[in-house]
């Protein structure tokens, strides 16, 4: 079938690309445009590895048609670091040992970013809720929670239980 033109903004760059109507946002970002930080896990909306921000909101790129992103702004993990500096959330994940294999990390960090952007001082509960759609097979979540908690203003370094 004929491809359709998609125009969107990815990590502050305007992008035009011809896509199949049936291509998912995940496929276009990862396979066509090379944003390989967008991971494909389950492809059914369960694991959260494919999370990207669409106009600031975390969405499942595996369950989003690329053409639905027309005119929107997408943030992938590649868009977080700037000038060779890790984004504070990335740095906190590194510092707190919240990364093991790293497969869940991009999605996890983007979900955390969406939370902290509109709620800079979330409670432990709010953090757990915001990350509930991101699965991690390695860390047992404690260090991830620890990393996000450490970003609260005047954070005590230990997450409460």
């Amino acid at each position: 079938m004929k491809k359709q033109l998609l125009s969107m903004n990815v990590n502050d760059e305007t992008i035009e690309v011809a896509v199949e109507a049936s291509a998912s946002l995940l496929e276009v970002l990862r396979d066509e445009l090379g944003y390989i930080g967008v991971k494909e896990g389950c492809s059914e909306g369960a694991c959260g590895a494919c999370t990207v921000l669409m106009d600031g909101r975390p969405v499942r790129s595996c369950l989003t048609l690329a053409l639905e992103a027309e005119g929107s702004s997408i943030t992938t993990i590649e868009g977080l670091a700037s000038g060779g500096q890790l984004h504070p959330i990335q740095q906190a994940f590194v510092d707190r040992g919240a990364v093991q294999c790293g497969f869940c990390t991009p999605g996890m960090i983007l979900s955390a970013k969406a939370l902290l952007d509109h709620n800079p001082n979330p409670s432990d509960e709010e953090i757990k809720d915001a990350l509930a759609g991101n699965f991690c097979r390695c860390t047992g979540y404690a260090k991830i929670l620890d990393a996000v908690c450490s970003l609260r203003p005047a954070s005590s370094s230990k997450p409460g239980r």
Binding site: M1, Q4, E20, A21, S22, A23, S24, E27, S43, E44, G45, A46, G48, T51, R57, P58, V59, R60, C62, L63, T64, L65, L67, E68, E70, S111, D129, A130, A132, G133, N134, F135
Partner: protein, 326 residues
Amino acid sequence: MLPNFKYVRPGSVEEAIDHLTSEGARVHAGGTDLLGCLRDNVFGALKVVSINALDDLRGIRQTPDRGVRIGALATITQVENHELINERYKGLAMGASEVASPQLRNQGTIGGNICQKPRCWYYRGEFHCIRKGGNLCYAFGGENQFHCIFGSDKKCCIVHPSDIAPALVAFDARVRVSGHKGDRLVPIEKFYVLPGEDVERETVLEAGEIVTEIILPPIIEGTRSSYRKVRARRSWDFALAGVALALVLKGGKVESGRVVLSGAAPVPWRSHTVEKVIIGQKLDSKTITRAAETAVHNAEPLAKNSYKIPLFKAIIEEELTKIAIG
């Protein structure tokens, strides 16, 4: 990979309806259920009609009679967080907050949620069961731990997957359906179809029809409501058992109201038996115990889901107790 299809994004409801009358056309709202179904080949699509440019279908607002109108494209997050809904239709806000994960609630719409397809693993897998036009239900003699205990009509034992629809039934919401022949307002209870009526459809929607809005009637003074869901994992999961309550209490007695079960039947299941026990009564522990007992009286558990019987009893008892306390 998804099968190939045409994609259109019409600018008006009329145009959308025109597109939807063509062979193999499917509505796309948030896409979170549609894309899963297409990828798993539950059904095909020749044309995907995105309704996301239809701004009239967005928004939540009060109606002139102090009811609430929820546009079909309102996201589940918007329903969950809306002030009026939290204030007056608490059970609906609670239901919305129990849906899937935050990302899916951002993306999924209320229209898509009430129209979502069953989650039966045979249906989602490669089994050509009755619901897909075959001649066998694989769940009756198979892995039926997540299937229904009411309303299978011995044909298909799915449970309705929505956490929002039970609350909408409890509040007696109506669904506006638009098609070529115009509009109709369907009470949400009548929106769903039992396997005995037609095993190949879940709703009364005809080809070329879309849901445009959901209307909540004005709240009756003294209404208390809630939604309770039990699931296997905390992060996200469909309901093993759930109950939506919207009860009007006056002078300590239940004057009217509805009790609706999720995870129980192929449609959001109104428990008329529980309603009969509690209406006109004080919600004391005797009434509550009797209500919980009768709720599962005529249940028909399958080989692997009889655990649902004590589960329903327990949550109905607990939720009625909470409502009684207020």
